[in-house]
Amino acid sequence: MDDLYREIIIEHYKNPSYRGHLDPHDISFADNNPLCGDHIQIDLRVDKDGKVTEARFDGHGCAISQASADLLVESVIGKSLDEVKALNKQHILDLLGIDLGPVRLKCALLSLKVLKAGVYGLGEASDSLVE
Protein backbone atom coordinates (compact mmCIF):
# COMPACT_ATOMS: atom_id res chain seq x y z
CA MET A 1 0.00 0.00 0.00
CA ASP A 2 2.81 2.42 0.88
CA ASP A 3 4.23 1.73 -2.58
CA LEU A 4 1.24 3.45 -4.12
CA TYR A 5 2.70 6.87 -3.48
CA ARG A 6 6.31 6.03 -4.27
CA GLU A 7 8.49 9.05 -4.90
CA ILE A 8 8.51 8.37 -8.63
CA ILE A 9 4.73 8.75 -8.78
CA ILE A 10 4.58 11.88 -6.67
CA GLU A 11 7.48 13.33 -8.70
CA HIS A 12 5.86 12.64 -12.08
CA TYR A 13 2.54 13.96 -10.75
CA LYS A 14 3.99 17.20 -9.40
CA ASN A 15 6.64 17.82 -12.03
CA PRO A 16 5.63 16.05 -15.22
CA SER A 17 8.18 16.21 -18.05
CA TYR A 18 5.74 15.71 -20.90
CA ARG A 19 2.73 17.80 -19.94
CA GLY A 20 1.55 20.01 -22.80
CA HIS A 21 0.21 20.00 -26.34
CA LEU A 22 1.78 19.48 -29.77
CA ASP A 23 0.74 21.84 -32.52
CA PRO A 24 0.82 20.60 -35.20
CA HIS A 25 0.32 16.94 -34.33
CA ASP A 26 -0.44 13.79 -36.30
CA ILE A 27 -2.60 12.10 -33.67
CA SER A 28 -4.63 13.61 -30.84
CA PHE A 29 -7.23 12.00 -28.61
CA ALA A 30 -8.91 12.78 -25.28
CA ASP A 31 -11.21 10.94 -22.89
CA ASN A 32 -12.54 10.96 -19.33
CA ASN A 33 -12.87 8.44 -16.56
CA PRO A 34 -16.56 8.94 -15.73
CA LEU A 35 -16.10 7.46 -12.26
CA CYS A 36 -13.88 10.24 -10.95
CA GLY A 37 -13.86 12.85 -13.70
CA ASP A 38 -10.20 12.31 -14.61
CA HIS A 39 -9.41 13.72 -18.04
CA ILE A 40 -6.46 12.99 -20.32
CA GLN A 41 -5.51 14.23 -23.77
CA ILE A 42 -2.53 12.83 -25.67
CA ASP A 43 -0.91 14.40 -28.77
CA LEU A 44 1.61 12.52 -30.93
CA ARG A 45 3.91 13.36 -33.83
CA VAL A 46 4.74 10.43 -36.07
CA ASP A 47 7.46 10.30 -38.76
CA LYS A 48 7.09 8.78 -42.24
CA ASP A 49 8.28 5.40 -40.97
CA GLY A 50 5.47 5.29 -38.44
CA LYS A 51 7.69 6.06 -35.42
CA VAL A 52 6.55 8.35 -32.60
CA THR A 53 8.93 11.31 -32.54
CA GLU A 54 7.18 13.55 -30.04
CA ALA A 55 4.48 12.99 -27.45
CA ARG A 56 2.68 15.15 -24.87
CA PHE A 57 -0.25 14.73 -22.50
CA ASP A 58 -2.52 17.15 -20.69
CA GLY A 59 -5.40 16.74 -18.31
CA HIS A 60 -6.38 16.58 -14.67
CA GLY A 61 -7.05 13.91 -12.13
CA CYS A 62 -5.51 11.89 -9.34
CA ALA A 63 -1.78 11.36 -8.90
CA ILE A 64 -1.97 7.83 -10.31
CA SER A 65 -3.70 8.87 -13.53
CA GLN A 66 -1.45 11.87 -14.18
CA ALA A 67 1.83 10.15 -13.27
CA SER A 68 0.96 7.16 -15.47
CA ALA A 69 0.23 9.50 -18.36
CA ASP A 70 3.60 11.22 -17.99
CA LEU A 71 5.46 7.90 -17.76
CA LEU A 72 3.51 6.39 -20.66
CA VAL A 73 4.07 9.33 -22.98
CA GLU A 74 7.79 9.26 -22.20
CA SER A 75 7.92 5.52 -22.91
CA VAL A 76 6.37 5.68 -26.38
CA ILE A 77 8.75 8.21 -27.91
CA GLY A 78 10.84 6.26 -30.41
CA LYS A 79 8.37 3.38 -30.61
CA SER A 80 6.56 2.43 -33.82
CA LEU A 81 2.77 2.71 -33.92
CA ASP A 82 2.60 -1.08 -34.13
CA GLU A 83 4.60 -1.30 -30.93
CA VAL A 84 2.24 1.20 -29.31
CA LYS A 85 -0.74 -0.87 -30.40
CA ALA A 86 0.78 -3.89 -28.66
CA LEU A 87 1.08 -2.14 -25.27
CA ASN A 88 -1.11 -3.53 -22.50
CA LYS A 89 -1.93 -3.15 -18.84
CA GLN A 90 1.35 -4.74 -17.79
CA HIS A 91 3.32 -1.97 -19.50
CA ILE A 92 1.67 0.61 -17.21
CA LEU A 93 2.16 -1.50 -14.10
CA ASP A 94 5.84 -1.95 -15.04
CA LEU A 95 6.25 1.80 -15.50
CA LEU A 96 4.63 2.54 -12.13
CA GLY A 97 6.42 -0.34 -10.45
CA ILE A 98 3.37 -1.13 -8.30
CA ASP A 99 0.37 -3.39 -8.24
CA LEU A 100 -3.08 -1.80 -8.25
CA GLY A 101 -6.54 -2.85 -7.12
CA PRO A 102 -9.44 -2.77 -9.61
CA VAL A 103 -10.59 0.77 -8.74
CA ARG A 104 -7.20 2.47 -9.06
CA LEU A 105 -6.28 0.38 -12.09
CA LYS A 106 -8.91 2.35 -14.03
CA CYS A 107 -7.11 5.58 -13.10
CA ALA A 108 -3.74 4.16 -14.18
CA LEU A 109 -5.03 2.79 -17.48
CA LEU A 110 -6.89 5.88 -18.68
CA SER A 111 -3.82 7.26 -20.49
CA LEU A 112 -3.16 3.97 -22.27
CA LYS A 113 -6.81 3.79 -23.34
CA VAL A 114 -6.61 7.30 -24.74
CA LEU A 115 -3.30 6.61 -26.47
CA LYS A 116 -4.48 3.41 -28.15
CA ALA A 117 -7.85 4.84 -29.19
CA GLY A 118 -5.91 7.68 -30.86
CA VAL A 119 -3.45 5.38 -32.58
CA TYR A 120 -6.21 3.08 -33.83
CA GLY A 121 -8.25 6.12 -34.90
CA LEU A 122 -11.28 5.07 -32.87
CA GLY A 123 -14.20 7.28 -31.93
CA GLU A 124 -14.22 6.10 -28.33
CA ALA A 125 -11.71 4.72 -25.84
CA SER A 126 -12.98 1.37 -24.62
CA ASP A 127 -11.77 -0.85 -21.79
CA SER A 128 -11.07 -3.69 -24.22
CA LEU A 129 -8.07 -1.71 -25.55
CA VAL A 130 -6.08 -2.20 -22.37
CA GLU A 131 -6.91 -5.72 -21.25
Partner: protein, 408 residues
Protein backbone atom coordinates in the same frame (compact mmCIF):
# COMPACT_ATOMS: atom_id res chain seq x y z
CA UNK B 1 -32.95 2.23 26.28
CA UNK B 2 -30.32 4.90 26.73
CA UNK B 3 -27.65 5.58 24.14
CA UNK B 4 -24.58 3.53 25.02
CA UNK B 5 -21.94 4.04 22.34
CA UNK B 6 -19.59 1.35 23.65
CA UNK B 7 -22.38 -1.21 23.67
CA UNK B 8 -23.53 -0.15 20.22
CA UNK B 9 -20.03 -0.61 18.79
CA UNK B 10 -19.98 -4.14 20.22
CA UNK B 11 -23.14 -4.87 18.22
CA UNK B 12 -21.19 -4.40 14.96
CA UNK B 13 -18.55 -7.13 14.61
CA UNK B 14 -16.99 -5.58 11.50
CA UNK B 15 -15.81 -2.58 13.53
CA UNK B 16 -13.23 -4.92 15.10
CA UNK B 17 -11.86 -5.87 11.68
CA UNK B 18 -8.18 -5.17 11.03
CA UNK B 19 -8.01 -3.94 7.45
CA UNK B 20 -4.22 -3.71 7.50
CA UNK B 21 -1.98 -5.59 9.94
CA UNK B 22 -2.66 -4.12 13.38
CA UNK B 23 -4.94 -1.38 11.99
CA UNK B 24 -8.66 -1.50 12.72
CA UNK B 25 -11.14 -0.09 10.27
CA UNK B 26 -12.38 3.46 10.89
CA UNK B 27 -15.62 3.22 8.98
CA UNK B 28 -16.69 6.66 7.75
CA UNK B 29 -18.69 5.53 4.73
CA UNK B 30 -22.14 4.82 6.18
CA UNK B 31 -23.84 7.10 3.66
CA UNK B 32 -22.81 4.59 0.98
CA UNK B 33 -23.89 1.64 3.10
CA UNK B 34 -24.18 1.11 6.83
CA UNK B 35 -22.60 -1.73 8.76
CA UNK B 36 -24.82 -4.49 10.13
CA UNK B 37 -25.44 -5.39 13.76
CA UNK B 38 -25.23 -9.00 14.98
CA UNK B 39 -29.02 -9.13 15.39
CA UNK B 40 -29.54 -8.55 11.66
CA UNK B 41 -26.83 -11.01 10.62
CA UNK B 42 -28.24 -13.64 12.98
CA UNK B 43 -31.84 -13.10 11.92
CA UNK B 44 -30.92 -13.84 8.31
CA UNK B 45 -28.67 -16.73 9.25
CA UNK B 46 -31.42 -18.17 11.42
CA UNK B 47 -33.95 -17.82 8.62
CA UNK B 48 -31.78 -19.89 6.28
CA UNK B 49 -30.95 -22.45 8.97
CA UNK B 50 -34.51 -22.93 10.30
CA UNK B 51 -37.27 -21.43 8.20
CA UNK B 52 -36.23 -21.14 4.54
CA UNK B 53 -39.03 -21.77 2.03
CA UNK B 54 -40.73 -19.81 -0.70
CA UNK B 55 -43.56 -17.62 0.53
CA UNK B 56 -47.33 -17.68 -0.16
CA UNK B 57 -49.44 -20.65 -1.25
CA UNK B 58 -47.27 -23.25 0.46
CA UNK B 59 -49.20 -25.09 3.14
CA UNK B 60 -46.24 -26.76 4.79
CA UNK B 61 -44.79 -25.47 8.03
CA UNK B 62 -41.71 -23.86 6.50
CA UNK B 63 -43.70 -22.00 3.83
CA UNK B 64 -46.12 -20.70 6.43
CA UNK B 65 -43.30 -19.63 8.70
CA UNK B 66 -41.42 -17.89 5.88
CA UNK B 67 -44.60 -16.11 4.75
CA UNK B 68 -45.36 -14.96 8.27
CA UNK B 69 -41.81 -13.65 8.72
CA UNK B 70 -41.92 -11.82 5.38
CA UNK B 71 -45.21 -10.16 6.33
CA UNK B 72 -44.21 -9.45 9.95
CA UNK B 73 -41.19 -7.54 8.70
CA UNK B 74 -43.52 -5.44 6.54
CA UNK B 75 -45.59 -4.59 9.62
CA UNK B 76 -42.43 -3.52 11.49
CA UNK B 77 -41.27 -1.34 8.60
CA UNK B 78 -44.70 0.28 8.35
CA UNK B 79 -44.67 1.05 12.06
CA UNK B 80 -41.12 2.44 11.83
CA UNK B 81 -42.22 5.22 9.44
CA UNK B 82 -45.68 5.48 11.02
CA UNK B 83 -47.50 4.25 7.91
CA UNK B 84 -51.25 3.80 8.56
CA UNK B 85 -51.09 0.19 7.37
CA UNK B 86 -48.60 -2.46 6.29
CA UNK B 87 -50.13 -2.92 2.84
CA UNK B 88 -48.82 0.54 2.00
CA UNK B 89 -45.25 -0.84 2.15
CA UNK B 90 -44.09 -2.33 -1.16
CA UNK B 91 -40.86 -4.28 -1.04
CA UNK B 92 -38.39 -3.27 -3.76
CA UNK B 93 -34.69 -3.86 -4.29
CA UNK B 94 -33.66 -0.42 -3.05
CA UNK B 95 -34.47 3.30 -3.17
CA UNK B 96 -33.56 3.42 -6.87
CA UNK B 97 -36.11 0.73 -7.70
CA UNK B 98 -38.73 2.41 -5.50
CA UNK B 99 -38.39 5.68 -7.44
CA UNK B 100 -38.35 3.82 -10.76
CA UNK B 101 -41.49 1.95 -9.73
CA UNK B 102 -43.37 5.24 -9.39
CA UNK B 103 -41.81 6.53 -12.63
CA UNK B 104 -42.85 3.44 -14.59
CA UNK B 105 -46.35 3.10 -13.13
CA UNK B 106 -47.87 6.24 -11.65
CA UNK B 107 -45.99 8.68 -13.87
CA UNK B 108 -46.61 6.81 -17.12
CA UNK B 109 -50.31 6.48 -16.27
CA UNK B 110 -50.73 10.11 -15.26
CA UNK B 111 -48.23 12.33 -17.10
CA UNK B 112 -48.32 13.48 -20.69
CA UNK B 113 -46.20 15.64 -22.95
CA UNK B 114 -45.61 19.11 -21.54
CA UNK B 115 -46.41 18.15 -17.93
CA UNK B 116 -43.95 19.54 -15.40
CA UNK B 117 -41.90 17.57 -12.87
CA UNK B 118 -39.97 19.52 -10.24
CA UNK B 119 -36.72 18.02 -8.93
CA UNK B 120 -33.81 19.68 -7.13
CA UNK B 121 -30.19 20.35 -8.03
CA UNK B 122 -29.01 18.17 -5.15
CA UNK B 123 -30.62 14.93 -6.29
CA UNK B 124 -28.83 11.59 -6.47
CA UNK B 125 -28.69 10.13 -9.98
CA UNK B 126 -31.45 7.73 -8.89
CA UNK B 127 -33.88 10.65 -8.70
CA UNK B 128 -32.68 12.22 -11.94
CA UNK B 129 -32.18 9.50 -14.54
CA UNK B 130 -35.67 7.87 -14.24
CA UNK B 131 -37.09 11.30 -15.08
CA UNK B 132 -34.59 11.88 -17.91
CA UNK B 133 -35.81 8.59 -19.40
CA UNK B 134 -39.44 9.63 -18.96
CA UNK B 135 -38.74 13.07 -20.44
CA UNK B 136 -37.17 11.51 -23.53
CA UNK B 137 -40.10 9.11 -23.90
CA UNK B 138 -43.02 11.36 -23.00
CA UNK B 139 -41.82 14.92 -23.43
CA UNK B 140 -42.47 15.82 -19.80
CA UNK B 141 -40.60 18.94 -18.64
CA UNK B 142 -38.09 18.93 -15.80
CA UNK B 143 -37.34 21.95 -13.62
CA UNK B 144 -34.99 22.08 -10.66
CA UNK B 145 -35.16 23.83 -7.30
CA UNK B 146 -31.77 25.59 -7.14
CA UNK B 147 -29.24 24.90 -4.40
CA UNK B 148 -27.88 28.00 -2.68
CA UNK B 149 -24.15 28.58 -2.06
CA UNK B 150 -24.50 27.32 1.49
CA UNK B 151 -26.11 24.09 0.31
CA UNK B 152 -29.79 24.77 1.02
CA UNK B 153 -32.79 24.60 -1.29
CA UNK B 154 -34.00 27.96 -2.60
CA UNK B 155 -37.62 27.86 -1.40
CA UNK B 156 -38.52 31.17 -3.06
CA UNK B 157 -37.45 29.75 -6.41
CA UNK B 158 -39.51 26.64 -5.62
CA UNK B 159 -42.56 28.81 -4.95
CA UNK B 160 -42.29 30.43 -8.36
CA UNK B 161 -41.79 27.04 -10.06
CA UNK B 162 -45.00 25.88 -8.39
CA UNK B 163 -46.91 28.63 -10.18
CA UNK B 164 -46.24 26.71 -13.42
CA UNK B 165 -48.58 23.96 -12.19
CA UNK B 166 -46.33 20.88 -11.75
CA UNK B 167 -47.82 17.39 -11.60
CA UNK B 168 -45.02 15.91 -9.51
CA UNK B 169 -42.38 17.13 -7.06
CA UNK B 170 -39.70 14.52 -6.37
CA UNK B 171 -36.92 15.44 -3.96
CA UNK B 172 -34.41 14.23 -1.42
CA UNK B 173 -35.04 14.43 2.32
CA UNK B 174 -31.28 14.48 3.00
CA UNK B 175 -28.52 15.13 0.48
CA UNK B 176 -25.99 12.32 0.28
CA UNK B 177 -23.24 14.85 -0.53
CA UNK B 178 -24.05 18.02 1.41
CA UNK B 179 -25.92 16.33 4.25
CA UNK B 180 -28.58 19.03 3.93
CA UNK B 181 -31.86 18.07 5.58
CA UNK B 182 -34.56 19.55 3.38
CA UNK B 183 -37.77 21.08 4.82
CA UNK B 184 -39.79 18.12 3.54
CA UNK B 185 -43.02 18.92 5.34
CA UNK B 186 -43.10 22.44 3.91
CA UNK B 187 -42.12 21.31 0.40
CA UNK B 188 -44.85 18.66 0.41
CA UNK B 189 -47.48 21.07 1.75
CA UNK B 190 -46.62 23.63 -0.93
CA UNK B 191 -46.72 20.92 -3.63
CA UNK B 192 -50.14 19.77 -2.47
CA UNK B 193 -51.45 23.34 -2.50
CA UNK B 194 -50.29 23.55 -6.12
CA UNK B 195 -52.06 20.26 -6.90
CA UNK B 196 -48.90 18.14 -7.29
CA UNK B 197 -48.06 14.66 -6.01
CA UNK B 198 -44.74 14.20 -4.18
CA UNK B 199 -42.04 11.55 -3.96
CA UNK B 200 -39.70 11.84 -0.99
CA UNK B 201 -36.29 10.19 -1.43
CA UNK B 202 -35.67 8.94 2.09
CA UNK B 203 -32.51 6.92 1.34
CA UNK B 204 -30.48 9.11 3.72
CA UNK B 205 -33.20 10.36 6.05
CA UNK B 206 -35.02 7.18 7.10
CA UNK B 207 -31.79 5.64 8.51
CA UNK B 208 -30.88 8.75 10.49
CA UNK B 209 -34.01 10.71 11.46
CA UNK B 210 -37.45 10.00 12.83
CA UNK B 211 -39.48 9.98 9.60
CA UNK B 212 -43.26 10.03 10.04
CA UNK B 213 -45.10 9.72 6.73
CA UNK B 214 -48.41 10.87 8.23
CA UNK B 215 -46.93 13.97 9.80
CA UNK B 216 -45.13 14.76 6.53
CA UNK B 217 -48.27 13.95 4.53
CA UNK B 218 -45.93 12.13 2.11
CA UNK B 219 -47.51 10.64 -1.00
CA UNK B 220 -44.56 8.34 -1.70
CA UNK B 221 -41.44 7.61 0.36
CA UNK B 222 -38.53 5.58 -1.05
CA UNK B 223 -35.78 4.03 1.10
CA UNK B 224 -33.23 1.20 1.26
CA UNK B 225 -32.57 -1.36 4.01
CA UNK B 226 -28.81 -1.44 3.54
CA UNK B 227 -28.31 2.15 4.63
CA UNK B 228 -30.19 1.51 7.89
CA UNK B 229 -28.34 -1.50 9.33
CA UNK B 230 -30.17 -3.96 7.09
CA UNK B 231 -29.05 -6.12 4.17
CA UNK B 232 -28.47 -5.08 0.56
CA UNK B 233 -31.00 -6.20 -2.05
CA UNK B 234 -34.13 -4.92 -0.35
CA UNK B 235 -35.80 -1.55 0.00
CA UNK B 236 -39.28 -0.18 0.30
CA UNK B 237 -41.76 2.15 -1.30
CA UNK B 238 -44.40 3.67 0.93
CA UNK B 239 -47.42 5.07 -0.85
CA UNK B 240 -50.82 6.46 0.02
CA UNK B 241 -53.39 3.69 -0.41
CA UNK B 242 -55.50 5.47 -3.03
CA UNK B 243 -52.43 6.18 -5.17
CA UNK B 244 -51.07 2.64 -4.93
CA UNK B 245 -54.47 1.15 -5.73
CA UNK B 246 -54.95 3.32 -8.81
CA UNK B 247 -51.49 2.58 -10.18
CA UNK B 248 -50.97 -0.03 -12.90
CA UNK B 249 -48.68 -2.96 -11.97
CA UNK B 250 -44.90 -2.68 -12.36
CA UNK B 251 -43.24 -5.99 -13.29
CA UNK B 252 -45.41 -8.87 -14.44
CA UNK B 253 -45.09 -12.40 -13.10
CA UNK B 254 -45.98 -14.62 -10.20
CA UNK B 255 -47.50 -13.24 -7.00
CA UNK B 256 -48.63 -9.96 -8.55
CA UNK B 257 -51.77 -11.53 -10.02
CA UNK B 258 -55.23 -12.55 -8.83
CA UNK B 259 -55.98 -14.60 -11.90
CA UNK B 260 -54.19 -15.44 -15.13
CA UNK B 261 -55.78 -16.63 -18.39
CA UNK B 262 -53.89 -17.45 -21.55
CA UNK B 263 -54.44 -13.98 -22.94
CA UNK B 264 -55.09 -11.83 -19.88
CA UNK B 265 -54.58 -11.34 -16.16
CA UNK B 266 -56.14 -9.56 -13.23
CA UNK B 267 -53.66 -7.85 -10.92
CA UNK B 268 -53.44 -8.66 -7.23
CA UNK B 269 -54.32 -6.12 -4.57
CA UNK B 270 -51.64 -3.95 -2.98
CA UNK B 271 -48.84 -4.44 -2.10
CA UNK B 272 -48.56 -7.83 -3.89
CA UNK B 273 -49.50 -6.11 -7.17
CA UNK B 274 -46.00 -4.62 -7.23
CA UNK B 275 -44.05 -7.65 -6.00
CA UNK B 276 -43.69 -9.97 -8.99
CA UNK B 277 -41.58 -13.09 -8.63
CA UNK B 278 -39.89 -14.62 -5.60
CA UNK B 279 -38.80 -11.66 -3.50
CA UNK B 280 -35.79 -11.18 -1.21
CA UNK B 281 -37.25 -13.21 1.67
CA UNK B 282 -34.25 -13.58 3.97
CA UNK B 283 -33.48 -9.92 3.31
CA UNK B 284 -36.98 -8.92 4.41
CA UNK B 285 -36.32 -10.73 7.69
CA UNK B 286 -33.03 -8.82 7.98
CA UNK B 287 -34.84 -5.56 7.16
CA UNK B 288 -37.33 -6.25 9.97
CA UNK B 289 -34.48 -7.00 12.39
CA UNK B 290 -32.73 -3.76 11.36
CA UNK B 291 -35.85 -1.74 12.09
CA UNK B 292 -36.19 -3.50 15.46
CA UNK B 293 -32.57 -2.67 16.24
CA UNK B 294 -32.88 1.03 15.35
CA UNK B 295 -36.20 1.32 17.22
CA UNK B 296 -34.67 -0.31 20.32
CA UNK B 297 -32.05 2.45 20.45
CA UNK B 298 -34.43 5.21 19.37
CA UNK B 299 -34.22 7.40 16.29
CA UNK B 300 -34.15 10.60 18.35
CA UNK B 301 -31.14 9.28 20.27
CA UNK B 302 -29.41 8.24 17.04
CA UNK B 303 -30.02 11.66 15.47
CA UNK B 304 -28.74 13.41 18.57
CA UNK B 305 -25.56 11.33 18.59
CA UNK B 306 -24.88 11.92 14.91
CA UNK B 307 -25.48 15.60 15.41
CA UNK B 308 -22.87 15.68 18.15
CA UNK B 309 -20.39 13.88 15.87
CA UNK B 310 -20.96 16.10 12.81
CA UNK B 311 -20.75 19.20 14.98
CA UNK B 312 -17.37 18.06 16.25
CA UNK B 313 -16.22 16.87 12.81
CA UNK B 314 -17.00 20.20 11.12
CA UNK B 315 -15.23 22.07 13.90
CA UNK B 316 -12.09 19.91 13.56
CA UNK B 317 -12.11 19.86 9.74
CA UNK B 318 -12.51 23.64 9.52
CA UNK B 319 -9.22 23.99 11.39
CA UNK B 320 -7.29 22.34 8.56
CA UNK B 321 -5.70 24.90 6.22
CA UNK B 322 -6.60 24.29 2.58
CA UNK B 323 -9.63 22.16 3.39
CA UNK B 324 -12.95 23.33 1.95
CA UNK B 325 -16.22 21.91 3.25
CA UNK B 326 -19.43 21.81 1.23
CA UNK B 327 -22.94 22.04 2.58
CA UNK B 328 -24.73 23.90 5.34
CA UNK B 329 -23.80 24.37 8.98
CA UNK B 330 -24.15 21.44 11.39
CA UNK B 331 -27.62 22.48 12.61
CA UNK B 332 -29.08 22.07 9.10
CA UNK B 333 -27.51 18.78 8.15
CA UNK B 334 -27.03 15.12 8.95
CA UNK B 335 -23.77 13.27 9.52
CA UNK B 336 -22.10 13.94 6.18
CA UNK B 337 -18.90 15.96 5.59
CA UNK B 338 -17.83 16.39 1.96
CA UNK B 339 -14.70 18.35 1.25
CA UNK B 340 -11.87 19.17 -1.13
CA UNK B 341 -8.31 19.54 0.10
CA UNK B 342 -5.59 21.71 -1.46
CA UNK B 343 -6.25 20.60 -5.02
CA UNK B 344 -5.26 17.04 -4.14
CA UNK B 345 -7.54 14.66 -5.99
CA UNK B 346 -10.11 13.00 -3.68
CA UNK B 347 -9.00 9.58 -4.88
CA UNK B 348 -5.52 10.30 -3.60
CA UNK B 349 -6.89 11.63 -0.31
CA UNK B 350 -9.04 8.53 0.16
CA UNK B 351 -6.23 6.21 -0.81
CA UNK B 352 -3.81 7.68 1.71
CA UNK B 353 -6.48 7.66 4.44
CA UNK B 354 -6.99 3.98 3.70
CA UNK B 355 -3.43 3.29 4.84
CA UNK B 356 -4.64 4.11 8.35
CA UNK B 357 -7.76 2.03 7.92
CA UNK B 358 -9.94 5.09 7.38
CA UNK B 359 -12.75 4.27 4.97
CA UNK B 360 -14.12 7.34 3.19
CA UNK B 361 -15.59 7.76 -0.28
CA UNK B 362 -14.16 9.79 -3.14
CA UNK B 363 -15.87 10.87 -6.32
CA UNK B 364 -19.08 12.59 -7.28
CA UNK B 365 -21.20 10.28 -5.08
CA UNK B 366 -23.78 9.78 -7.84
CA UNK B 367 -24.56 13.49 -7.78
CA UNK B 368 -22.59 14.81 -10.75
CA UNK B 369 -24.82 17.84 -11.48
CA UNK B 370 -24.43 19.01 -7.87
CA UNK B 371 -20.64 18.84 -8.15
CA UNK B 372 -20.76 20.75 -11.41
CA UNK B 373 -22.83 23.40 -9.67
CA UNK B 374 -20.01 23.89 -7.17
CA UNK B 375 -17.42 23.82 -9.97
CA UNK B 376 -15.65 20.65 -8.81
CA UNK B 377 -15.42 17.17 -10.30
CA UNK B 378 -15.19 15.25 -7.06
CA UNK B 379 -15.12 15.45 -3.28
CA UNK B 380 -13.93 13.30 -0.42
CA UNK B 381 -16.82 12.34 1.83
CA UNK B 382 -16.74 11.20 5.45
CA UNK B 383 -20.09 10.10 6.83
CA UNK B 384 -21.23 9.06 10.27
CA UNK B 385 -23.78 6.81 11.91
CA UNK B 386 -24.86 5.66 15.35
CA UNK B 387 -21.57 3.78 15.86
CA UNK B 388 -19.27 6.69 14.92
CA UNK B 389 -17.00 8.21 17.58
CA UNK B 390 -15.15 11.48 18.14
CA UNK B 391 -11.97 9.43 18.27
CA UNK B 392 -12.66 8.38 14.67
CA UNK B 393 -13.06 12.04 13.71
CA UNK B 394 -9.64 12.72 15.27
CA UNK B 395 -8.14 9.86 13.24
CA UNK B 396 -9.63 11.36 10.08
CA UNK B 397 -8.11 14.75 10.85
CA UNK B 398 -4.69 13.20 11.59
CA UNK B 399 -4.98 11.26 8.34
CA UNK B 400 -5.66 14.42 6.33
CA UNK B 401 -2.48 15.99 7.73
CA UNK B 402 -0.61 12.87 6.54
CA UNK B 403 -2.04 13.39 3.04
CA UNK B 404 -0.52 16.82 3.07
CA UNK B 405 2.83 15.35 4.05
CA UNK B 406 2.82 12.79 1.20
CA UNK B 407 2.06 15.49 -1.34
CA UNK B 408 4.51 17.88 0.29
Amino acid sequence: MSFNLQQIRKDFPILEREVHPGIKVVYLDSTATSQKPVSVIEAMDDFYRRSNANIHRGVHVLAEEATAMYEQARVKIAKFINAPSAHQIVYTRNTTESINLVAYTWARANLKSGDLIILTEMEHHSNLVPWHILAAERGVRLEFIPVTGDGLLDIDAYRSLLSQGPKLVSFTHMSNVLGTITPAQEIIRMAHEAGAITILDGAQSVPHLKVDVQKLDADFLAFSAHKMCGPTGIGALYGKTALLEAMPPFLGGGDMIKEVKLRSFRPNSIPAKFEAGTPAIAESVGFGAAVDYLASIGMEEISAHEHEIIDYALERLEEIPGLKLFGPTADKKGGVASFTFEGIHPHDVAQILDRDGIAVRAGHHCAQPLHEKFGISATTRASFYLYSTKDEVDKLVDGIYKVKKVFG
